[in-house]
């Protein structure tokens, strides 16, 4: 074994003097201002986006399909040229100082970028060598990182023979193996089983506590809620909201109650009654057969009050479900509830949301 005291899963620290010395000390890890990307075909992917990410922060980029998340990531990792605006990583301009930016970053894209003909160990070793780590050190580090990602048993297996989840993990390991100071992960948990997801979040949290900045995009709002320090919601190439998950959730109300009224009842009197209640923020009528959604400050105290009120009005409630506000609510509130047309897995999920919530924009 190597001499590292492994009390916790330690990834290699940011590699050596050059990178650390190159960081401009005080500024944010990522600074983006009025970023615009218009593709050659004329499609505007980013229509003037501004945000900044602090060092050590886990920053989640949320948005429906086609909202520009991946475009933003690819500009920040120097893979795509911006049309206008400013984008800096660790203080370096992504175009004028692309090499300095590349010194600082790790990246795992939406598609798994591992070499099928190389073994897991070789893939990771190459990952470090590409970041100018000497071969011996690169290989040792690769071995250690494989263990962290529970891939130690398949170190000598070619990537082509690994399962989808393992390949995904190997890809993520490759983004982290050289000890980057800013990590970009485009939908990192897609294709991971729940255990691996949990492990990844733990690892990212650990990295962020040690000063690594994590920028990620995700469709799993629940995860973003739990794992991100701040989230930004992107819609149609514009940032519609940036904040901590807690702040954003408070904005839409503390929680909601989902009520189903007995079949033959007309929901209009119920809605009127509910809307007049003091703690109700908003009532959203459901379509036939769908529950009525009542946004309240505190669902657990409001539930009995609501039941009593409806009983007094002579309205029979078939079922009542309560839920704390989630990023889903925030997301849907700010991005609308239209289903997205992209043919992808997430597309069907969005359609699902739309169906549940009545397929219309609130307000």
């Amino acid at each position: 074994m190597t001499a590292t005291t492994s009390h916790s899963p330690d990834l290699p620290e940011s590699h050596g003097g050059s990178a650390a010395a190159g960081t401009s000390d005080q500024g944010p890890a990522i600074a983006v201002q009025d970023l615009v990307k218009v593709y050659p075909g004329g499609k505007t992917a980013l229509a003037g986006v501004s945000f900044s990410v602090d060092r050590g922060e886990i920053f989640g980029f949320l948005g429906p399909n086609g909202s520009g998340k991946t475009t933003a990531v690819r500009i920040l990792v120097t893979l795509l040229r911006k049309t206008s605006g400013i984008a800096r990583v660790s203080g370096f301009d992504v175009e004028g100082q692309a090499d300095r930016v590349r010194d600082q970053i790790g990246f795992a894209g939406q598609f798994v970028g591992v070499d099928d003909d190389l073994t897991a160990l070789e893939n990771l070793t190459l990952g470090s060598v590409l970041h100018l780590v000497p071969y011996g050190a690169a290989r040792r580090r690769a071995g250690e990182v494989l263990e962290i990602f529970s891939l130690g048993d398949v170190a000598y297996v070619r990537a082509a023979r690994l399962s989808g989840g393992m390949r995904r993990r190997l890809d993520l390991a490759q983004a982290l193996v050289h000890g980057p100071t800013v990590v970009f992960l485009d939908e990192p948990t897609t294709g991971l089983d729940p255990q691996s997801r949990k492990a990844l979040w733990g690892l990212l949290r650990h990295l962020s506590e040690n000063g690594t900045t994590v920028f990620l995009t995700t469709q799993y709002l629940e995860e973003a809620d739990r794992a991100c320090d701040r989230v930004a919601i992107l819609d149609d190439g514009r940032l519609v909201k940036v904040g901590t998950p807690r702040d954003l959730k408070q904005e839409v109300g503390g929680g909601r109650l989902m009520l189903t009224i007995r079949d033959d009842a007309d929901s209009t009197p119920a809605i009127q009654a509910l809307a007049s209640m003091p703690n109700v923020t908003r009532v959203q009528p459901g379509q036939t057969g769908e529950p009525l959604v009542v946004y309240v400050d505190d669902p657990s105290t409001s539930a009995p009050v609501v039941l009593r009120l409806l009983q007094a009005e002579g309205i029979e409630v078939a079922s009542l479900e309560q839920a704390q506000a989630s990023l889903d609510d925030v997301f849907l509130r700010y991005t609308g509830e239209r289903p997205r047309v992209e043919a992808s897995v997430e597309g069907t999920v969005s359609t699902g949301f739309a169906a549940v919530h009545g397929g219309r924009r609130p307000h």
Partner: protein, 265 residues
């Protein structure tokens, strides 16, 4: 750790990438096998079919040993052309799998990526050329200029192959599509081979083919090989071959380099 003692050698990135490309050729040898098998089959077939050509006075007057010896350089060059195509396909695969992204976001010069590709291509081509030459020797061919001549022929053909590989790589980088790379490369490969004296000596070729061959670097390399196989060196002609290769490199390699720079579009 299973391997306790690995020295901290500072491997140049281009060498590491070259090794990686070679390892891929060895582990997934389908394409490489194909680009070796085709010239070998042609070597056997054509040396039989056109055998009679060697007995005609027109051919005999030129002084080549046998049709087989005459054919070897063309088949060596053919295998290089195929391997150049395979190089472009490997690049388009890297683009499709996201591997190219990994290379592009690492703090290495863009030229290192190309250098790694060229290194692997050159080694592969040299080995292939040697195998084809060995097969020809087994079939009874002789190299009049000896070892030095054989090596010069292989090195010349490899240089041509590496320069030519710029074209399929250029297509791969521009189109980011392996089908287009395959089709484009194949469409170009055979004319480049046939518009040379690979199968018929220059004096026996139609006027227009001779005209095209005059600007086709492959023609120069093949003819140099044919001289080395049967006739001996001709420094004046060999110099022209070098110039043809230099011109081709100056035109094609910068195109591929520019395309690789623009890959981050």
């Amino acid at each position: 750790m299973r391997e306790p003692a690995i020295r901290d050698v500072k491997v140049p990135v281009s060498v590491a990438l070259g090794a990686r490309n070679l390892i891929k050729n060895l582990r997934a040898p389908m394409l490489i096998t194909a680009s070796l098998a085709q010239p070998l089959i042609w070597l056997v077939l054509f040396s039989q079919i056109f055998r009679g050509l060697a007995d005609t006075p027109a051919f005999r007057r030129l002084g080549y040993g046998s049709y087989l010896e005459f054919l070897v350089p063309g088949m060596v060059v053919l295998s290089m052309l195929f391997t150049g195509l395979q190089s472009g396909l490997a690049t388009s695969t890297d683009i499709a799998t996201g591997m190219m992204d990994k290379l592009l976001i690492s703090p290495i010069r863009r030229s290192r990526i190309l250098a790694g590709r060229v290194m692997a291509d050159a080694v592969t081509m040299l080995l292939q050329g040697a195998i084809i030459l060995a097969a020809a020797l087994l079939m009874g061919a002789r190299v009049r200029t000896g070892w030095i001549g054989a090596i010069a022929m292989l090195v010349g053909a490899t240089t041509l192959g590496v320069v030519w590989a710029s074209v399929p790589n250029l297509i791969a980088l521009r189109t980011r599509n392996s089908e287009l790379t395959m089709v484009g490369g194949l469409l170009l490969t055979l004319p480049i081979l046939f518009l040379t004296p690979a199968f018929f000596p220059r004096p026996l070729l139609p006027e227009w083919v001779r005209a095209v061959a005059a600007v086709n670097p492959a023609a120069y390399v093949i003819e140099m090989g044919q001289r080395l196989m049967s006739l001996g060196t001709d420094w004046g002609q060999d110099l022209r071959t070098l110039i043809a290769l230099a011109v081709a490199s100056v035109v094609l390699i910068p195109l591929a380099v520019l395309a690789s720079r623009a890959a981050a579009e």
